[in-house]
């Protein structure tokens, strides 16, 4: 066969053909609209397809793309140092992993068909880009492994300009986040919550009064320099024995912030803005320390850059680079002290002194960092710095002096030489609800956990184990530092960190976790980078979402499921703090997902990797099945994916239905039940959830509410605050009452802007009670914070049985099958 023949004929190999077919089926099946309902407790699924020619065209397009990529891949491999027949054979075989894609539509269809669960369906609908990415990355990886001589490790030269560049880039990223946060919140916006205003009031007191007593600042309402003047900030304070009012927070962070804050007051540029610059600098310093340490451990710049990127770009570091909490400062101080202890040679007392000062200062941020200081002291001993008197004095003298000062500080202000849980820990350090809550919640809680926002840290944990394997001494101490932060936070009663963005207490572990990224990139098999890329995509997507809507991460809300049609994050993950699930249920859900994370970490520990596309296919199938199985288990244990508590999920379906090309065939899987068009698109607005006094549920747990006769008209239901896409909508209410005369008994309206703009309104007479009341309205440009409000004239008792809203789609896309 000539070379030209082999180029064209060669594509028609089973592996490449099946791969093309898999991509075609996978791509074509992504465009269907899927709705679920649960008539009689059994799940029914309705598939609505676009016109058949669109489906076929999408499938063929995907196949064509795969064909072109396969041609390019074959040509590229042929140019490498392989003999041509071997290169072609390997090129074709590298496509085997694509068969895993067929599993996705298969699970979507079969799982609900046999009544198992809708979890794989939901995953397939929402997370299919990840499956596609995983398969594409596996093909790429196998193609690279087909030419082993290409897998050269990077050079070990150290470029001097790289470290300053890392610092400046990190500073730029943090400043960019600051600009964005300022854009959405303003200088005195709603973003500030939790401890931040209290830290700022303490900073103000230090900068202006040079004391810790907050009374002057409170009476003068000086929180108005950084927050709403109408708001009162008391500084989370307490009375001292000499009757001063001081903050419960330690003065470490305010002392650092105060010079910057003072510039803000002096220049009128905004004290909070100026104080934030210090946190940017601390964050960039932390990233730089991570880069230096990772380069030292791995001897490579590439892995070190990966570590620095994870520390800078992944949550929670990304967000805490702009929040005035002590977390970023503690992260920077601990990793800087750690690196200096690691690098210091005998006689380098300056370095040890700096490490000692940094370690000593940690306790002034919060007593939970004392454990890090103690570990650093042990590390100094292990590194042999006890051998010289100068070394001991340089490191330990600042620590001893600081401990004495801190003890004096506590004695003077609180009358006790040691930190007392009553000062600022709700009376107990250890979680009275059990250790598992914090230990699992810190990782996988839907609203407060680290991994839902930054799954890349899963790869970092796997990398830390590689560091432990290849450099046991260093790996042990890095792991210990990360573990100490995790355990201190996880066992703490306030493990979620109060009212603030999630995984606050793990920020101090970020630099040590980030070192795992470098170790994984340096020593783990190539699949580590495959997993890292996938998790990085998820991490960046979550970070982008949080940057788009930063205030949502306050207040213990579960925000990452907002754009999803299926409530994956809300219903499958534990939600300890946003308490809508039983604690025991949360514990089980946490266990399930921690097991999945454990499987990932273990899979990245298997050493060595060679060209084996069939193994890659089996691993991909296994990974898909593990995730689908875990989701199915969580679906069975938890409230289930068909439980829509959050209107955002239904509205995500409306948005998809609105842009759906429509008019194709439809399938129904499962039992017959309500007609799909309205029943599956309808959003119930349970009256009991949105009603206000004097309305009250007719019985415990009931959705209907009753309103007694009143002397004056009164609004009794509002506050859904729906963000709706453009379209026409229909609101239906069912009201009843004893009065059936002609006089008005109630009204119903649809409004925007907290009731200031009424879109449509209907008066309800006694004669209309008992019949469905319907209001229709158009939203040409969509709406934000829309409310459906119901009021009573007070004429007689009323019962509001139900309230719902449904979009009126232009064409009956969700046709009755």
């Amino acid at each position: 066969m000539s070379q030209g023949d082999s180029k064209t004929v060669g594509y028609w190999q089973p592996a490449t053909l099946l791969a093309g077919f898999s991509w075609a089926v996978f791509a074509a099946s992504r465009w269907a609209l899927v709705m679920t309902t649960k008539p009689d407790g059994q799940v029914a699924v309705l598939w609505v397809w676009p016109p058949w020619w669109q489906t076929v065209a999408i499938g063929l397009g995907a196949w064509l793309l795969q064909f072109l990529v396969a041609l390019w891949q074959r040509g590229w491999l042929a140019q490498q140092a392989l003999d041509r027949p071997q290169a072609y054979r390997r090129a074709y075989r590298a496509w085997w992993p694509c068969l895993a894609l067929l599993l996705v539509p298969l699970m979507e269809l079969c799982w609900p068909l046999y009544g198992f669960s809708t979890a794989p369906l939901a995953l397939g609908r929402e997370a299919w880009p990840l499956a596609a990415l995983a398969v594409a990355a596996a093909v790429l990886l196998q193609t690279r492994l087909a030419a082993p001589e290409l897998l050269r490790r990077g050079r070990s030269d150290h470029r001097l300009w790289l470290a300053p560049l890392v610092f400046l880039l990190a500073l730029g990223v943090f400043a960019g986040v600051g600009v964005r946060l300022n854009e959405v919140s303003g200088q005195t916006g709603y973003l500030m919550a939790g401890d931040e205003p209290s830290y700022l009031l303490g900073t103000h007191s230090l900068a202006v009064d040079r004391d810790l007593d907050l009374l002057d600042n409170i009476l003068l309402r000086e929180n108005s320099y950084f927050s709403d003047p109408a708001r009162l900030v008391l500084g989370h304070g307490t009375w001292t024995p000499d009757r001063s009012w001081v903050s419960n927070h330690r003065p470490g962070l305010p002392a650092l912030l105060s010079p910057f804050y003072a510039w803000g007051l002096y220049s009128d540029l905004g004290p909070r803005k100026l104080a934030t610059i210090l946190v940017w600098l601390l964050g960039a310093w932390m990233v730089l320390e991570v880069f230096w340490l990772a380069r030292f451990y791995t001897g490579r710049e590439g892995p070190a850059l990966l570590s620095a990127a994870a520390a800078a770009l992944a949550l929670p570091g990304l967000l805490y680079s702009n929040l005035l909490f002590p977390e970023m400062a503690a992260a920077a101080f601990s990793v800087a002290a750690f690196r200096r202890l690691r690098m210091a040679q005998p006689g380098q007392y300056g370095m040890l002194l700096l490490a000692g000062v940094l370690a000593a200062y940690l306790a002034w941020f919060h007593e939970r960092f004392i454990l890090l200081s103690v570990l650093l002291a042990f590390y100094a001993l292990v590194r042999g710095h006890w051998r010289s008197f100068g070394g001991v004095m340089a490191f330990f003298l600042p620590c001893i002096v600081s401990a004495w000062l801190l003890s004096t500080y506590f004695s003077h202000l609180y009358g006790t030489p040691l930190p007392d849980p009553h000062i600022h820990a709700q009376g107990a350090y250890l979680n009275p609800r059990g250790a598992w809550e914090g230990l699992s919640g810190l990782w996988v809680d839907a609203g407060e956990g680290l991994l839902p926002y930054s799954p890349i840290w899963m790869a970092a944990v796997a990398g830390l184990i590689w560091l432990l394997r290849r450099r046991p001494g260093d790996g042990f101490w890095v792991l210990l530092m990360a573990l100490a932060t995790y355990l201190t936070a996880g066992l703490y009663a306030d493990w979620f960190g109060g009212i603030n963005p999630p995984a606050r207490y793990l920020v101090a572990a970020v630099p040590f976790l980030a070192l795992g990224m470098a170790a994984g990139a340096r020593w783990a098999p190539r699949r580590f980078m495959l997993v890292t890329v996938m998790l990085a995509v998820l991490t960046v997507a979550a970070a982008a979402f949080v940057m788009h809507y930063p205030s949502a991460v306050y207040g213990h809300s579960v925000v990452l499921g907002q754009g999803l049609q299926f409530p994956l994050v809300e219903n499958l993950l534990p939600a300890y703090i946003f308490a809508h699930q039983q604690p025991a249920l949360n514990a089980q859900l946490g266990l399930i997902w921690l097991c999945v994370a454990g499987v990932v970490v273990l899979a990245l520990q298997v050493d060595g990797q060679r060209f084996s596309p069939i193994s890659a296919l089996i691993c991909l199938l296994g990974a898909f099945l593990v995730v689908a199985g875990a989701a199915t288990a969580a679906d069975r244990i938890g409230p289930g994916l068909t439980a829509y508590r959050n209107p955002a999920h239904r509205i995500a379906l409306w948005e998809r239905a609105r842009v759906f090309p429509g008019e194709g065939p439809s399938w129904r899987v499962g039992p017959a039940g309500p007609q799909p068009q309205e029943a599956l698109l309808e959003l119930s607005l349970p009256p009991a959830r949105y009603s206000r006094f004097p309305a009250k549920p007719v019985s415990e747990g009931a959705e209907a509410v009753t309103v007694p006769p009143l002397a004056a008209p009164k609004l009794f239901l509002w506050g859904q605050y729906l963000n709706l896409p453009p379209g026409r909508y229909q609101v239906t209410a069912r009201l009843s009452g004893p009065y059936r005369g002609p006089q008005l008994v109630a009204w119903l309206d649809v409004s925007l802007d907290k009731g200031r703009q009424v879109l449509t309104r209907s008066q309800v007479s006694g004669q209309q009670l008992g019949k469905p009341l319907v209001l229709e309205f158009d939203l040409p440009r969509g709406a934000r914070h829309l409310e459906v409000r119901v009021g009573t004239t007070g004429r007689d008792r009323l019962v509001l049985h139900s309230l719902s809203i449904v979009p009126r789609l232009k064409s009956a896309r969700a046709r009755t099958p």
């Binding site: 009476l219 108005s224 320099y225 009128d268």
Partner: protein, 137 residues
């Protein structure tokens, strides 16, 4: 060495404003006044200026300044007036006007008796407890 020097230069540069200490309150209040804050919170920078002046001059304040504060406070419609009345009482008593201080305290108690009693525990009031008839903490 470059890094250490950079940090030192930065530290010296940023500590310039911090060095001013109590004068910052006056400076910040003047910035506010220049922005022409509208009621109800226009009184905040005025109180800040008066506080700074009182500390700087052993409590002495021109009667005209205190009278303006009274006018502002009588028309104040913002949140937590009790705190501002307490501050005014403190300014009055430091200026030697005990009768006016008592009046301000009465206004404070009328605004919010709970917060009034709470903040009167502070040691700030100790020198004048007997004169003003304040309860012992």
């Amino acid at each position: 060495m470059v890094i250490v020097l950079s940090v030192l230069v930065l530290a010296v540069a940023v500590s310039g404003a911090f060095y001013k200490g109590p004068a910052l309150r006056q400076k910040a209040a003047q910035h506010r006044l220049a922005q022409h804050w509208a009621p109800p919170y226009r009184v905040l920078p005025l109180l800040g200026l008066a506080h700074a002046a009182s500390l700087a001059d052993a409590g002495r304040l021109p009667r005209a300044d205190l009278d303006r504060l009274w006018r502002e406070m009588k028309s104040y419609k913002g949140t937590y007036p009790v705190l501002l009345w307490l501050e005014l009482a403190w300014l009055e008593v430091r200026a030697g006007h005990q009768q006016m201080a008592r009046q301000a305290l009465v206004r404070a108690r009328q605004a919010d008796a709970k917060l009034y009693n709470f903040w009167l525990r502070h040691k700030r009031w100790d020198p004048w407890r007997t004169q003003l008839g304040l309860p012992e903490p």
